[in-house]
Subunit: 242 residues, 2 copies
DNA sequence: GACAGCATACCGACCAGTCGGTATGCTGTG
DNA sequence: CACAGCATACCGACTGGTCGGTATGCTGTC
């Protein structure tokens, strides 16, 4: 086989088989529950082969993260949602594209990074960092379009393009969790619909006055329907959340 | 000690210690990576004691889920966000309340259910079901307020109260993932801000025409700024997502 | 013959779950 | 009250199997 030095890609077929098997298994069972032997069996290779390519299981996870970035990177880079001239249309087309990917079995449309970071954020700093980089990096590809749309629609909101870009990823990650809990993409798609509606409204309609506690523009009277602030009163110091 | 039969609560101090330790460890490291020995050590009890109260690790997870429901259930049931007369204000106050809980270390404000379901949805059906029930059940407590707000504001939208209620949980779960990736609650809070803005806009402003692919009301011309539909063109069948 | 690619056999730590045992306290009966 | 009978609470050594990782060797190719 010819040996193109193509920016860390095309390293070895067996290596890729291991990475693909690992990606699939981790998406289905999580990082810790995925055994090295499972990966080898699923890839049709032996343990010796595994440790020929990866120095450890963690090393494999990092390599899988990198491969994930390359694959999803090119998928999104070449996708059709970049075509519209209007930047807002591009953002909405991105959301539509994400929605269109939500089909099939759960482990086939969920996110490797979101899955891994849940279990590793405290115990495997390197993996956490890779997941953060992947998610944040992907969000960053939306920022330019969002920023351009803000300019075009002459918006000067309290939120930033970066924050809205991250919010899209937030909704997607949350949608994956709901999809896992409910065993199918239907719920996820509905949340993506809500996300789309939000973005559309953000750019085409006047935004509500900020009447939050702890916000920069402790706005004037405005249209605050009640003036009540929920002022937590959290007697329970242990955060509780679902 | 007197023995109130108080609806499955107050079973045993040691049992609760084990459940608390398990909850904390699972929130930090995930279900699989949390060892029974870790739980025992953290609770200051022995393994014999553990298996006296729980027949297996999975049994513990289910018990922890139930305890979680009881604890968060009463936290939310007694919280102040129910006070406003206006149902929309109650929903917004709920969101504010959720935001106010986002502080401290990551494992202290993230969700046990969202964490567990990620690793167990394929391999531990009973745990998956418990997580689904917990999240969906909590979402259901919002439905009445959302529905009342829809009536009061005379909304007849394409979305349902149930779907919006689930969307709030979607954003929260996604926010927890971002918080884990970024090691702090700041990102999470920003996404909750977006969620609040969305809900506020939904009820106080005209909603955009639906111009999605695959939507029921293939609306008339309306205010569709371009008419383009991103019509996926996904040549790649393997779902890719982050 | 050097080395990438891959396999088999094996190691030692670890881990869920078991088991025999002790300590404590409650209950009813004479 | 005394005491048998029994259940609960808890301990920690042990087991059988698992898992990440290592050691070693075979094979084909440049």
């Amino acid at each position: 086989m010819l040996w193109f030095p193509m920016a860390s890609a095309a390293q070895s077929e067996s290596r890729d088989k291991l990475l693909d098997a690992a990606t699939h298994l981790i998406r289905a069972r999580g990082y810790t529950a995925t055994r090295v032997d499972d990966i080898c069996a699923s890839a049709g290779l032996s343990k010796g082969s595994f440790f020929h390519y990866f120095s450890s299981k963690e090393d494999l996870a990092l390599a899988a993260a990198q491969r994930w970035n390359e694959q999803t990177g090119s998928l999104f880079a070449t996708a059709a949602y970049h075509q519209p001239a209007d930047p807002l249309e591009r953002v909405l087309a991105y959301i539509d594209f994400r929605k269109s990917l939500l089909h099939g079995k759960v482990p086939e449309f969920t996110c490797l990074m979101g899955t891994m970071v849940q279990e590793t954020y405290e115990t495997f700093p390197a993996i956490r960092e890779a997941c953060d980089g992947s998610i944040s990096g992907h969000a960053a590809t939306l920022e330019a379009d969002i920023g351009a749309a803000m300019q075009q629609y002459k918006l000067h909101p309290s939120w930033t393009a970066a924050s809205l870009a991250l919010h899209t990823q937030c909704v997607l990650q949350g949608a994956f969790i709901l999809a896992k809990a409910k065993q199918g993409p239907a719920v996820a798609a509905e949340s993506v619909d809500h996300l789309r509606r939000y973005v559309e409204m953000l750019f085409t309609q006047p935004q509500p006055e900020e009447n939050r506690h702890g916000n920069r523009n402790r706005s004037g009277p405005g249209r605050d329907r009640s003036g009540r602030h929920s002022r937590p009163g959290a007697k329970n110091s242990r955060g509780a959340s679902r």
